[in-house]
Symmetry: none
Subunit: 133 residues, 4 copies
């Protein structure tokens, strides 16, 4: 019997800190001042530094790669809609729910989203994953 | 006169190393053994550790956030198709080309892709970006 | 025609945070308690932890290596005068202006300085750079 | 009796790895491809990626801030001559020798240099430090 089925869900939460943003800048090379320069960010629409959108999106990869379906997952595709900013100190929860899967060799379609500690959705999208445990 | 127009393009290249993968695992929490466990990875279809797909995708964010259009970019959405593995030591080039833009307040549609040092495409997709410099 | 000339200038700004100081300590090995120990620092002339002077100086390298002249820069020398402390949370802007250059194979002399968000100069000095794009 | 005098010396050694370079890029924002892009670096005069010059220079700060004179050091100035490249995996030793000091409130003049594991000098220069232990 399959360990997962349509409707199975999982989530992963992480507080996004300044350290995450500095390290993400180093790993990605993305030094956009909105992420690194408090003076620039204060004048932006966000009024303060925000985390890289892809950093939040990476938490989706974490759910898929460690929980649903976890090891054996082969990431085929992902759509992402960035819905709102993540500020330093926010806790982001990435959630994933299987919406379509034949239970075998076919791709899983997985609804994915991220929200912050106030319940505000910051990222939505859909993943396609093969499962070869 | 707009600094960018349909057809404008830019790229960013970075060698993806073990340090990147370790730091990305730390920042994202994605501890899938395919990225961190050489013994596990040796038995996988890839025969060796591979970088997180989202790490390559993050280089797309770098092009958008630092070059095209750079500061002033507001990331609205991104589609991603993961086409092939990135091994540790591979150099990934993320490229972006504006495919549709009204030159003003409307969203830019940007064709995005990543390829490795052998010219093999590893990620494709499309970004939507607002530009508010 | 040269892209740069005497008088050309560029800058790079970054908020210096605790994460930067911790990581800089790890990379450099400089564990002086003035940077890492709030109790020690509270009794110092600065009354609080300060960033490593070389961390601010590193932003000068960033301007030279990414903007003026950017890739193709070969860093020959740098003088540094540390004029004042950088506290955690300060935003440091490193600025560079070409003061002497023959437009070709000769070394660029570049006036360099760093100031904080209150306009206070924290580092001054001069760089010598060869440009081989 | 002063703990230090003219002629006193100390050193600090560290192997410069890819992790150091990635972290230094994140902390400084210096994403020059000579440091991060193996394909670009292969075509450069150095034929491979090199560490940021300021990263080696930072080891001088480490000697001053932790050993000679150590806590109580106030960094006033530094001259730097970059004499040769540091490759990933090289072990850099930063050395410092007091060349002039009144033994009290006056500034220490300290000869500083960095060499690699083959004895090749990669950085030279002079530091000025006040000592207020």
């Amino acid at each position: 019997m399959a360990e997962f089925a349509e409707g199975s869900n999982a989530s992963f939460s992480k507080t996004i800190t300044d350290a995450d943003v500095v390290l993400f800048a180093g790993v990605s090379g993305d030094t956009n001042p909105l992420h690194l320069d408090a003076e620039y960010a204060a004048k932006s629409r966000f009024k303060q530094r925000i985390a890289h959108g892809m950093l939040s999106a990476s938490l989706i990869s974490t759910v898929l790669g460690t929980k649903l379906p976890g090891p054996g997952a082969i990431y085929m595709g992902q759509t992402l809609e960035f819905k709102g900013p993540v500020f330093l100190g926010d806790t982001v929860t990435a959630s994933a729910t299987i919406t379509s899967w034949d239970g075998g060799k076919g791709p899983m379609t997985i609804a994915t989203s991220c929200h912050n500690q106030r319940g505000e959705v910051v990222v939505t999208g859909e993943a396609r994953v093969l499962y070869r445990p």
